[in-house]
């Protein structure tokens, strides 16, 4: 078994985990992060993309609102290029009118959330598809955030600061030392899910940033963390309906947010408490509810083309008395005084504020911290709190630097919708397009595949938006598979230098000769480990002919199945017509349902096979 040694081990490669790795590395800690799948495979990659102004929570959850507006201001500086400055409207539709809007505006003032009431006609002029029956509109600094790009940019910043990130490494064991009352987490065993090798990591401290999976990770340390898992279903429209984030001006509920993100609008969400963060089903009533509620924001939304449905799961947490041994110093009466807070009626009522669980005080387990709850918007603050707690446990005092440090790429300025098209046009890259819908060029694909661990095409989707457009992989899947096959066979144009994560979504960047390489490893001395970044690069399925997951047939099957999983719940009208054409391409021409790999497992097959949709097992 291979061994590594580090100061801080982070569990989870979502926004929070990569944020923790970035923060810890910036503070000079030797840091290793493990993620069981690809970065952002969990909740981070399945949310609607809203950078909250906090206004949504001013009346319901003031603590979360204050966190959101403060982080909103910071992230616009530190992650500028991952954010589109869309602005946000809170609109009062006829169904909602009561005293909420006035209380809302007052609460925004009280909590320093900038809120301007604008006349409905000017709002309608800016957003002509908006419900013309709105009676009041408030404008707030909401924005759209690309959580894939932001996480990759944070991960790159972490790497540059010396952290080691290991995707496709699943935590299987936490090693505890010491006896009762003096227990401490000292090491972890992780499984490289691609090679099947185990890796032992000695760590001074483990930070559990596994989001919805935090309870499972905590259980490995013998600690109970009862997560409230709130499943949210979202639908994406074929193209943007608005250029502004639209919120209903009412108590947060289902289907009351419409976010323009990249080329689509996302209507969300439901909030259903679930027991298991995997196997999220999408029920017909949830789809119907999103359409009905969406029509109240943009009349006709339900008749517009819906591309896809998916579900994410919120890692909500509210402190309750651990059911294990009582913790010294806890006042039992506290929970009796505030029963409603201790056990919220539903996940919708659970706080969105971050939750830091210092297991030394809470459970008597040293070297173990859980950071959960919160919003994507507050991931940086969550990381700061977690690493502050780590400093305290490790007995050092090192100030957080993330609020004043930019991730690579901010010099590009805010994202704007036309960015990809503009680059394709400027450099005449039309003939280089692999994914025509999302304007993904061959060099973007090769750059991502060669320099980022690529086990499935779905990894490339998260990197460059492959297959996320109207045809849902209909035309790009076979092209991408062919390109990856060529890469495997060594026929690729040589990939020079570092992967420009900051530009991973730029069609032109990888095309330009002599683009300056990003500075690497500017941080403290690397962890005493076998150069893991090289390792992760070598593990990339696309460049390692030894790994079976890169079989073109598997890549094809897995990606088609994964795309199909999200299309099946909304299969009507225009998208049904699209899928008929895709069916003709893959089943009638390519015979893709009789590939010689039908029974083989891959790191993705468990994901799409777990879908509860009855159709999800067929192609």
């Amino acid at each position: 078994m291979k061994r590594m040694q580090t100061e801080i081990l982070v569990i989870g490669g979502g926004a929070t985990g990569t944020g923790v790795a970035w923060d810890a590395a910036l503070r000079g800690f030797r840091t290793v992060l493990v993620e069981k799948r690809d970065l952002t495979h969990g909740t981070t990659g399945r949310y609607h993309g809203l950078l909250h102004s906090g206004a949504r929570y001013v009346l319901k959850d003031a603590a979360s609102a204050v966190e959101c507006i403060s982080e909103n201001r910071i992230l616009r500086r530190t992650h500028t290029h991952c954010i589109e400055d869309t602005s946000g409207f809170f609109v009062v539709v006829p169904e909602d009118e009561d005293d909420y809007p006035d209380r809302f505006a007052a609460a925004c003032r009280r909590l320093d959330v900038p809120c301007t009431e604008i006349p409905p006609p000017s709002a309608l002029r800016r957003e002509p598809l908006l419900n013309p029956r709105i009676s009041r509109v408030f404008e707030l600094p909401d924005a759209a955030a690309d959580s894939f790009l932001a996480t990759h940019a944070t991960a790159q910043a972490a790497r540059q600061a010396g952290a080691t990130l290991l995707p496709y490494h699943e935590l299987t064991r936490l090693h505890l030392s010491g006896g009762d009352g003096n227990r401490a987490v000292s090491a972890a065993t992780v499984l490289d899910t691609v090679s099947g090798e185990e890796l032992h990591i000695d760590a001074d401290l483990v930070i559990n940033a596994a989001g919805a999976w935090s309870g499972q990770v905590a259980a490995l340390a013998g600690v109970e963390v009862k997560m409230i898992l709130g499943k949210g279903v979202m639908l994406a429209t074929n193209a943007r309906l608005t250029n502004t984030v639209i919120n209903r001006c009412k108590m947060p509920g289902d289907g009351d947010i419409l976010v323009p993100i990249h080329t689509v609008s996302v209507i969300g969400t439901t909030d259903e408490q679930v027991a298991d963060p995997e196997n999220l089903s999408i029920e017909q009533w949830e789809v119907d509810l999103m359409l009905t509620e969406g029509d109240k924001l943009v009349p006709g939304l339900s008749r517009s083309r819906i591309l896809r449905a998916w579900a994410g799961v919120r890692p909500l947490y509210q402190e309750t008395q651990p059911s294990g041994e009582p913790t010294p110093g806890t006042d039992d009466s506290l929970s009796n005084d505030q029963p409603a807070q201790d056990s919220p009626q539903s996940s919708r009522d659970a706080t969105r504020a971050l939750a830091l669980l210092n297991h030394r005080q809470r459970d008597g387990v040293r070297g173990f911290i859980t950071i959960t709850g919160g919003k994507w918007t507050t991931f940086r603050l969550m990381a700061e709190s977690a690493v502050d707690a780590a400093c305290e446990q490790l007995g050092v005092s090192r100030p957080c630097r993330t609020a004043d440090t930019s991730v690579p790429g901010v010099e590009q300025g805010h994202y704007w919708l036309g960015h990809r098209l503009n680059e394709v046009e400027d450099e005449n890259l039309q003939s280089e397009l692999v994914c025509e819908c999302e304007l993904v060029t061959r060099s973007m694909l090769e750059g991502a595949a060669q320099r980022n661990p690529t086990v499935t095409l779905d990894d490339l989707r998260r990197d460059v938006r492959l297959g996320m457009g109207p045809c849902q992989g209909g035309f790009c899947t076979y092209r991408a598979v062919g390109i990856l096959h060529q890469l495997r066979a060594g026929n690729a144009s040589p990939a020079a230098g570092e992967w420009h994560v900051a530009h991973m979504q730029s069609p032109a960047h990888h095309h330009r000769a002599g683009a300056a390489a990003e500075p690497s490893r500017a941080g403290p001395a690397p962890a005493s480990s076998p150069a893991p970044s090289d390792e992760s690069r070598r593990r990339s399925a696309a460049v390692d002919p030894g790994t079976n997951v890169s079989q073109p047939n598997l890549l094809l099957r897995d990606f088609l199945q994964e795309r199909w999983k999200g299309v099946a719940p909304i299969l009507w009208g225009q998208q049904l017509r699209q899928e008929r054409l895709d069916e003709l391409i893959y089943l009638s021409i390519l015979n893709a349902d009789h590939l010689p790999v039908d029974d083989e497992e891959s790191p993705l097959s468990s994901f799409y096979r777990s879908g509860s949709s009855p159709a999800s097992s067929s192609l």
Binding site: D85, L129, A239
Partner: protein, 452 residues
């Protein structure tokens, strides 16, 4: 401001299934790399523009901040000729050409318009100015030196087939022959368009003669440019004011129940479809009434034919025994009416006429497109398919045994000029042929058979 609907032009991109049929039929992308193709330019690129948002001339929105800052994502959409072959072949009904026209309007809104495109859009104004002194105007425009200057200064292609002002306008002929015009109970309104008024009054004359031959009084009320040249060049604001003026001038006739009949397929298409859709005027009552009252002249004549109301005194166009070979090209703008090719139904009644139907996609000129220096060669390359077709008819025909090939026919004026430029053969509007077959019109001299 009319409320934008989810059924507007922009949102028709939701119908695209990416099948590429439009790209494989597009005559422009086939001959140049400057235009990446209809699918790329319309349903794909539109998702990266300000999707679904109509354009307003006053610049007050709704346009996003990036667009307001002059940041336009793409330029290649300017190379779409607007021929609408893509619309014609799209199996799912995406309004591709209209999406592109709107995209051009937004480019113009953000970046302004060149003097050349502004001039090309002012068909009517140019026509009116030139017709003050047609001889002088033709000399000034058509001598080689000024063509070279126009190319260098404005970017108007040196060799492109610019029209010549006629020595009198259609209105002058109508005034001069007022006494001979038919008066009667049955009336139709004739929409002549700018080209007929200033360059080809004889097309209008032929139309009036045929309509009167059917027993209809022809009303030619004051009218102005339909606005299409401005729509094509992205000047939606100006196009809208022209269109609204036409509505106010024609609406009384529409309300009286008279059909509005045009010989220019692009003008009638604009009244029927382009202006209402592109300018978001589909809910405007006047626009809607005019749209429903407007007919292409052969569409209307075919109705008469079907009703058995067409006079049958059609005579052969040639006195000899040989058939008169006539290659006929239905212009893109006519095909966009989705009425079939009604001129063929009528011309087929002319004895001894050997009609040869062109299946070429486009002549290339596409209104003002082929007049632009950077697009002239593209237009000629697109037209090659049609020019070759005409040449093939000529090669096949043996003057002595099979008849002669002395004309081509096409319903649209700029297409006829391009056809003449590309084939060297004179081209006629089908109404001229029909008028000639009724013995009302001299096909060679292009004037009434009675000399008036």
């Amino acid at each position: 401001m009319p409320p934008a609907s989810l059924n507007s032009v922009g949102l028709s991109l939701n119908d695209c299934i990416k099948c590429n049929i439009c790209t494989s039929y597009c005559p422009v992308s086939q001959v140049t790399d400057s235009f990446p193709g209809p699918k790329y330019a319309a349903p794909q690129s539109e998702r990266f523009r300000d999707f679904g948002h109509p354009f307003y001339a006053d610049g007050a929105g709704p346009i996003s901040r990036t667009l307001a800052a002059g940041q336009m994502p793409d330029a290649s959409v300017d190379y779409c000729s607007g021929c609408r072959v893509c619309n014609e072949v799209c199996p799912t009904g995406v309004r591709i050409a209209e999406i592109n026209a709107r995209a051009r309007a937004r480019i113009v809104a953000a970046r302004g318009i060149s003097l050349r495109n502004r001039l090309l859009g002012r068909n009517e104004l140019l026509g009116r100015i030139g017709s003050i002194a047609p001889g002088l105007a033709n000399f000034l425009l058509h001598n080689p030196l000024s063509r070279r200057l126009a190319a260098a200064l404005f970017g108007v292609a040196e060799k492109a087939p610019l029209p010549r002002w006629h020595h009198h306008t259609l209105n002058r002929w109508l005034a001069r022959t007022r006494a001979q015009r038919l008066r009667g109970e049955r009336k139709v309104v004739y929409f002549h368009g700018c080209a007929t008024q200033y360059y080809e009054p004889f097309v209008g004359i032929a139309a009036v003669l045929v309509l009167e031959h059917l027993g209809y009084e022809v009303i030619v009320p004051p009218q102005n440019c339909c606005g299409l040249p401005m729509l094509s060049n992205g000047e939606f604001g100006a196009a809208e004011s022209y269109h609204r003026r036409n509505v106010s001038r024609l609406i009384e006739f529409v309300n009286a129940g008279y059909p509005i009949i045009g010989t220019s397929t692009s003008c009638t298409l604009t009244l029927k479809e382009e202006a209402p859709e592109l300018l978001d005027l589909e809910n405007d009552a006047g626009t809607r009434a005019l749209k429903l009252a407007t007919w292409d002249i052969f569409e209307w004549l075919r109705e008469r034919l079907d009703q058995g109301q067409l006079p049958s005194d059609l005579r052969p166009l040639h006195q000899s025994d040989q058939p008169f070979i006539l290659p006929y090209h239905a212009p893109c703008q006519l095909r966009a009416h989705r009425i079939g090719k009604p001129a063929l139904d009528l011309l087929a009644r002319i004895p001894g006429l050997d009609l040869r139907e062109s299946h070429a996609r486009c002549c290339g000129i596409a209104g003002t497109y082929g007049y632009k220096t950077e697009k002239y060669q593209i237009a000629m390359d697109v037209g090659a398919e049609l020019f070759d077709f005409v040449a093939a008819q000529s090669t096949e025909s043996n003057q002595d045994t099979e008849g002669s090939l002395s004309f081509t026919a096409c319903d649209s004026e700029t297409c006829r000029w391009q056809l003449e430029h590309g084939t060297g053969l004179p081209s006629r509007h089908p109404i001229e042929l029909l008028a000639a077959a009724y013995g009302l019109y001299d096909l060679h001299a292009r004037r009434p058979a009675d000399g008036n």
